[in-house]
């Protein structure tokens, strides 16, 4: 199962998620509580292991886990309430929550069983200003914003989200008009709307992604981050375990038709390897996709290892890794879209030579200007 090159805390978490409680218990005396807390936070996994902690023998670890779970669950309940308030405030403006409480409801039949730390909302791009104003009236502030119409157009064209933060509540809302996960496989509001399902939380009914599109999105989202967070693999593990044979067929056909089968293969490979599962599915990939899948698999294990050993990527290494993932997953088109998307983040507009126009020249000159400014500050 897990390699000994990971930390004991990482192995402990994996064993719990795989419900190997006897082996997990054997590790409890070797655990560092601080390190375990760190990993639980990074992997957003406390709620997933909650039901299992009573099987542990170590009282100190049980108390630590219990406190963490309680704190996280209270935060989740707050997010659910915030989603309800959002729904009331948005009124007739259609929106589709992505992940968060609705995903928790889908996987665990309870909106508070899965850790989230923000709310991702998919909207129509033409509603961005209205949604922004509504959130401002609820006390949210833009994390960064566009200053001109041209900047807004560039943001809408090349980027995918706009962040707003409520400092009192400590809640971040991301307004998405694209779910890009991997450039080259953008999913917009209309695509999701066309096949949406509904989800009931309390007395509210939300539009949500159709189940096949949702699984596809989770696979691509996981790939784009090379599953450095175990929560994403745990989500897919639960989903895969619930699928019947007929649903597997529908899912594979859906992803094959969209040429995203490789991402499903990667997810299955990782879940099977890490958690010791076996799913009734054999995917046949072409040689190129097999190679890409293997590269991404290795990158994922490397990312998890860095997380488990608290090794952080330096700026350039992170930059190279991110774009390597984009290139491996989405080809040259994916890589270029990723580069452009980074450029139009509002934080980069300070480095635009041309404040309001000629976007591609801005992109060309941006890095030299950034470098000059950094050198001149020193």
């Amino acid at each position: 199962m897990s390699s000994s090159s990971f930390s004991v805390e990482h192995d402990f978490i994996i064993l719990l998620l795989a419900k190997q409680l006897e082996r997990a218990n054997q590790l409890t005396e070797f655990l560092d509580c601080e390190e375990l807390s760190r990993l639980l936070e990074i992997h957003k996994i406390s709620s997933a292991i909650g039901p299992l902690i009573e099987s542990l023998d170590n009282d100190k670890i049980k108390t630590l886990l219990h406190d963490k779970i309680e704190s996280d669950k209270l935060y989740q309940l707050g997010l659910i309430r915030e989603l309800h308030l959002l729904k009331s405030a948005f009124d007739t403006i259609p929106f589709i929550p992505i992940k968060g409480p609705t995903l928790s409801q889908f996987i665990f039949n309870n909106p508070a069983e899965r850790n989230s730390w923000d709310l991702d909302i998919l909207i129509r791009p033409e509603n961005l200003d209205t949604c922004k104003q509504i959130l401002e009236s609820l006390g949210y502030e833009s994390v960064e914003t566009y200053r001109t119409q041209k900047q807004k157009e560039a943001l809408l064209k090349y980027h995918h989200q706009f962040e707003m933060y409520h400092s009192e509540k400590g809640i971040l809302i991301e307004l998405h008009w694209q779910l890009h996960s991997l450039r080259g496989h953008d999913i917009g509001f209309e695509q999701v709307f066309a096949s949406h399902e509904t989800c009931v939380i309390g007395n509210d009914t939300y539009m949500v992604m159709g189940w096949q599109q949702r699984i596809e999105y989770l696979c691509m989202h996981g790939t784009s981050h090379v599953y450095h967070r175990l929560q994403w693999l745990n989500d897919l593990k639960h989903i895969f375990e619930s699928l019947e044979t007929s649903q597997w067929t529908l899912l594979v056909n859906h992803m094959r038709s969209r040429k995203t089968e490789m991402h499903l293969a990667l997810a299955i490979k990782l879940v099977e390897t890490l958690f010791g599962c076996k799913f009734p599915l054999e995917l046949e990939l072409n040689k190129r996709d097999e190679k890409r899948c293997q590269i991404l698999y290795n990158l994922s294990l490397q990312a998890q290892k860095r997380t488990s050993l608290n090794v952080k990527d330096t700026g350039w290494r992170d930059f190279v890794n991110t774009h390597r993932i984009q290139y491996t997953s989405g080809g040259i088109k994916g890589l270029l879209k990723s580069l452009f998307s980074r450029s139009v983040r509002p934080s980069n507009w300070d480095y635009f030579a041309f404040n309001d126009r000629v976007f591609f020249l801005n992109h060309l000159f941006m890095r030299p200007i950034w470098l000059l400014k950094r050198i001149s500050k020193k």
């Binding site: 039901p51 009573e54 219990h66 779970i69 669950k73 309940l77 707050g78 309430r81 309390g202 007395n203």
Partner: protein
């Protein structure tokens, strides 16, 4: 008369206890193990008698005490708008 959960509340279990929020008011609540058992039980509408019978099967308690405490607990839940009643 039967008691059932008010859908304005979202609950989540932590071992044998429950934390929940009323999404309209924003109030948070916690239920201990016995309270959690009752909360689970009234997922479907139940009478006070049915609730007591469930608890008597599970816990070592006399009927009189059980009825009094269940009555008091249900009143508290009603006062907080966590549950509602309807005639069976």
């Amino acid at each position: 008369m039967k008691f059932k959960r008010n859908n304005d509340n979202i609950a989540s279990k932590i071992h044998d206890e429950i934390v929940m929020v009323n999404i309209e008011k924003g109030n948070y609540y916690g239920l201990n193990a016995v309270g959690s058992d009752i909360w689970d039980f009234i997922e479907s509408p139940r009478t006070e008698v049915e609730i007591c019978e469930m608890l008597l099967e599970k816990y070592d308690i006399d009927t009189k005490t059980c009825r009094a405490e269940v009555k008091e607990f249900l009143k508290k839940l009603l006062d907080q708008n966590l549950i509602e009643t309807f005639n069976a």
